[in-house]
Symmetry: D2
Subunit: 158 residues, 4 copies
């Protein structure tokens, strides 16, 4: 277990809208806290069965003063049926209450802008940013709860 | 465990389209086989986590010559984001290969026509029809795999 | 799903003791009901995690007037630490309340007598006997709840 | 999530024997590493279904150079059927390969000596000791994998 190998500067999220929050989230306003970002597509089975329940568990395990949990809807396929209205219904039905940004579409590509900037390989992806704003983990696919806890615990006590 | 208390005549499905099948399914052409119908909405969490995986398990447990597995998309809320195109993507992503009918909308109600005819209370619902075409079970909500197996086994040997 | 291929006459259980019952169980006194027998060893991981919980679920799913659930402790290894006193503690701690027979030791073999008579290959094994006393299933290893339900349901309506 | 509230000095384990290790384990020889101790009884259902699988997951998640995983068999009931020979079979059947100490019996009490010294309330209990040898967590009952990971991760980076 080692998050030390990645130590990239923060890449600000590029979003067209935010849900479940009164104002847009800026990563540089979250310095001092550990930030976890779950990127997902609402019709991605692994996101629905694993990634989002894990994000909710993180939200329920750590205090908001220490750990920020964000969702990012990075639609790179089937754009027509995963628009903002569909996403709103999805978040309502699945009782996801933490802030979710909509990754900003790129007119010239199916891949939205934040997904490009973070070089994400697909969904679900799991990003962890430390208290100083450095990206410490950028993981594609399923990741075990114990390991997620260990990454967060490690960064909390740095 | 007793399915005897219901013994209603078949109510034909009223659908606007069928997916995963070359031609529309007619219940009266399925006489001689046990038919199970899983009614669902693609953004209903209990359908996604329980009902549809159970339908797939039924499909994999019993031969098609004995048991027919059908899905029925009974949209009664959030109609705008659960249309046919969204459903096609959903079935593709979740690898659901058995025939799925789209319950026919009622111009004067949010409740589609088959849902009305079967007096369904919500999603997921699970309907079992015996070899003679009689409805023997009409269950709303989660139902255990062992009990589902028992209902089907009982009807198979009648 | 077909239990028809086995249709052996009942083989009476040979036991040195019974727990959780006032008097020894005789299979020929159970004619008219479906009987399921879970054979296990108390220190067999697959029995503890799968077989016995499934036996308890069968007990809770079907009425006793239709389905009899029996355990059979078929110790064929580590005999010294799986004796009757250890078994009593195990049944108490795991809250197993259905009758459990202790398969009778064979002075000349590690394999106890009922295990020999039924040609059991190991634990857990799952035996199903129909209302007429014929052995219809003799399965070694894990078996899915839905399939178990189907076997029992089929025999119930014969 | 806070392990800071406990900061007791190490209490050395009092054992009558060790299994899965060539020589007895002394906590004061483990300084510099995080030590987790799962206390259990081999016939305790919660230990078998939750505590010991979690201990194995910790062993597989963290390197041995950072995290030591120990079992402690704290028998406080049914002593006659949970002796050393039964425990050996149990560890073999459940494929538990990390060191397991047998908590030393107290001639005047059902509660063994280490269990008394740590004021353990029952099984399973989960103890975490930091790199400096201080007890940081002493938890009775089931504890979630994510929280366990967080405790360990936090102590690893202190």
């Amino acid at each position: 277990m080692n998050t030390q190998h990645i130590s990239s500067p923060t890449i600000e999220l590029k979003t067209s809208a935010w849900l479940n929050t009164d104002k847009p989230i800026k990563l540089d306003e979250l310095l001092g806290r550990v930030v976890v970002i779950h990127t997902f597509q609402m019709l991605c089975p692994g996101c629905v069965s694993h990634g989002l329940p894990q994000a909710l568990k993180i939200r329920n395990t750590f205090p908001e003063s220490d750990v920020v949990v964000l969702g990012l809807h990075t639609v790179f396929e089937h754009h027509a049926v995963m628009g903002p209205e569909a996403l709103k219904v999805f978040l309502h039905e699945y009782r996801i209450h933490f802030p979710v940004g909509i990754d900003q579409a790129d007119a010239g590509s199916n891949i939205p802008l934040t997904m490009q900037a973070y070089s994400l390989q697909g969904t679900p992806s799991f990003i962890v940013i430390d208290r100083k704003g450095k990206i410490r983990l950028n993981h594609f696919g399923v990741i075990d709860d114990m390991l997620v806890g260990a990454y967060i615990g490690q960064l909390l006590s740095e």
